[in-house]
């Protein structure tokens, strides 16, 4: 037993001395080696999800356009659960988070965001006919569901402060691996409301109009954008060039109409923190 502990301790010490590999490929390196690795979430409709075995959603259509636009540079895609995605970009395993990540202060410390692809203002969604909830203050004490590791999960203290201002408090919090699982528990009655980006919620409402209802916004305006590791300025600007073109030729707005139900023509031309604050330098 003692020998085992000593052996384990030696292994861990050696492992601890291994420097973390966190070199992300710069744009130059990407061009030299001929390919870029992007990571997309597996279950976040309407941005990125799997339908009948095939990837679908706004981000997947943008991915196809990016592949064309990048020309000689191959774009390889990995699809995985959200909880590993941004960590993979920070560690250098992926070059770009080709995913509708929400821009947040905490994430901005380790990532650069591209120009936004949609608004990400967070609303609450409740069961249709649930008359207990008429306004944000009625959410006090009720059970909330959201995705583990999402930006709203990290911004729950803001929601709590909001509820406390009207004399209420944050209820129990249920965290799910992906939003569709949260919606299902909302339908089942295990949770009382889901907090998610208004775009994603609108998509659910289109598909299940008899089950759910849209509420109001709970936090100031925010944005969805792709992300690269902080410091990778050229790669971020390269992707921004891509988006520039897709906005000029109308492709982005067309795809927004198709997947999100409306276009967002007035999005900022560079990443912005929630509340339209400028990104840190």
């Amino acid at each position: 037993m003692l020998r085992k502990l000593i052996a384990a301790f030696c292994v861990i010490t050696v492992a601890a001395l291994v420097p973390s590999q966190s070199r992300a490929a710069s744009l130059e390196e990407i061009k030299k080696r001929g390919y870029m690795v992007v990571a997309t979430e597996d279950n976040y409709p309407p941005f990125e999800y799997i339908q009948d075995g095939q990837p679908a959603g706004l981000d997947h259509d943008l991915y196809k356009l990016l592949k064309e636009w990048a020309g000689a540079v191959q774009v390889r895609q990995e699809i995985l659960p959200w909880q590993g995605l941004l960590a993979g970009v920070v560690s250098g395993q992926f070059d770009v988070a080709l995913s509708a990540a929400t821009i947040s202060d905490q994430r901005a410390q380790q990532l650069y965001f591209t120009m936004p692809i949609a608004e990400a203002t967070h609303y609450y969604m409740k069961r249709k006919g649930d008359t207990r909830i008429q306004a944000v203050k009625d959410l006090s004490g009720l059970t909330i569901g959201t995705q583990q590791g999402s930006s709203i999960h990290q911004r729950l203290p803001e929601v709590e402060a909001l509820l406390q201002k009207t004399g209420g408090k944050l209820g129990r919090v249920s965290l799910y691996a992906s939003y569709p699982e949260a919606y299902q528990d909302l339908a089942n009655g295990r949770i009382d409301y889901v907090l998610n980006s208004v775009v994603a919620i609108s998509d659910v409402l289109r598909k299940r109009p008899n089950e759910f209802e849209l509420g109001q916004a709970v936090v100031p305006i925010g944005y969805h954008a792709w992300a690269v590791k902080r410091g990778n300025k050229e790669l971020r600007d390269y992707i921004n060039q891509f988006f520039n073109e897709q906005r000029k030729n109308g492709n982005l707005y067309r795809l927004q109409e198709k997947w999100l139900g409306r276009a967002f023509p007035d999005l900022p031309w560079e990443a912005k923190l929630p509340g339209n604050r400028p990104m840190p330098e």
């Binding site: 020998r3 085992k4 502990l5 000593i6 052996a7 384990a8 030696c10 292994v11 291994v18 973390s20 590999q21 966190s22 597996d42 279950n43 799997i50 009948d52 075995g53 990995e78 699809i79 995985l80 659960p81 909880q83 590993g84 960590a87 993979g88 560690s91 395993q93 691996a177 992906s178 569709p180 699982e181 919606y183 299902q184 339908a187 299940r208 089950e211």
Partner: protein, 216 residues
């Protein structure tokens, strides 16, 4: 969800589960044998390190191992696709249990036979290949098949890293249609069927070995 769209998905999921499980078992078999040989070899530091490794992995849940391998290893520079990671996770997990199974039959092996082999002039390697391994293999077979059923029952852990195995197919179908009975009951039936087949196989193997060789 209509059967016409559910059945192909279930078939795909089952194929993924079986492929990942079989590949993991095959890899784990070889790795397990290697681990067992090192442990029974009494080489000073290495044998202890392997013992510690086996002890830790045996105590690690499949889901935790999956997250460590799939999310954690890339941070050290070893990036893997979900499918490759899934096979590796299953292989790592089953290899330590298989190592214990192999170690049991290797330790139980009658020394008399080994001594006779050496007296007849065989080297360690030849003796292993021609005398030890065939008998140890037969002795371990039922336990190895049992381990295979455990692998199938633990394979849903890879659904957590995004691999679309049978369990994930069922979950996905449910979150799409909000109707859980059909997908989950079908998936359960398939899992039970596969495990029952393996259990039959294990009993059959035991009977054949005892019949042919008189003992396990």
């Amino acid at each position: 969800m209509a059967w016409s769209s559910l059945l192909p998905e279930l078939a795909r999921g089952t194929a993924t589960t079986l492929t990942v499980s079989l590949a993991g078992i095959a890899l784990g078999l070889v790795a397990g044998l290697a681990l067992a040989l090192i442990r029974t070899s009494h080489i000073p530091v290495v044998a202890s390190a392997v013992a510690a490794y086996v002890s830790v992995v045996r105590a690690t849940p499949m889901v935790t191992l999956a997250l460590l391998v799939f999310f954690g290893l890339p941070a050290l520079g070893l990036g893997l696709s979900p499918l490759t990671a899934a096979i590796l996770i299953i292989a790592i997990n089953t290899s330590v249990f298989q190592a214990e199974i192999w170690r049991a039959s290797l330790l139980d092996f009658p020394r008399g036979q080994l001594d006779a082999a050496h007296a007849a002039g065989m080297t360690h390697a030849v003796a292993f290949r021609r005398i030890v391994f065939p008998q140890a293999w037969r002795a371990s077979l039922p336990a190895l098949v049992n381990e295979a059923t455990l692998v199938i029952k633990g394979s849903p852990a890879v659904a957590v890293i995004g691999v679309v195995d049978l369990t994930r197919v069922a979950v996905r179908a449910t979150t799409l249609t909000y109707e859980p009975m059909r997908p989950f009951l079908s998936a359960t039936v398939i899992y039970v069927a596969v495990v029952m087949v393996l259990i039959r196989l294990q009993r059959y193997t035991e009977r054949r070995i005892v019949a042919k060789y008189g003992t396990l």
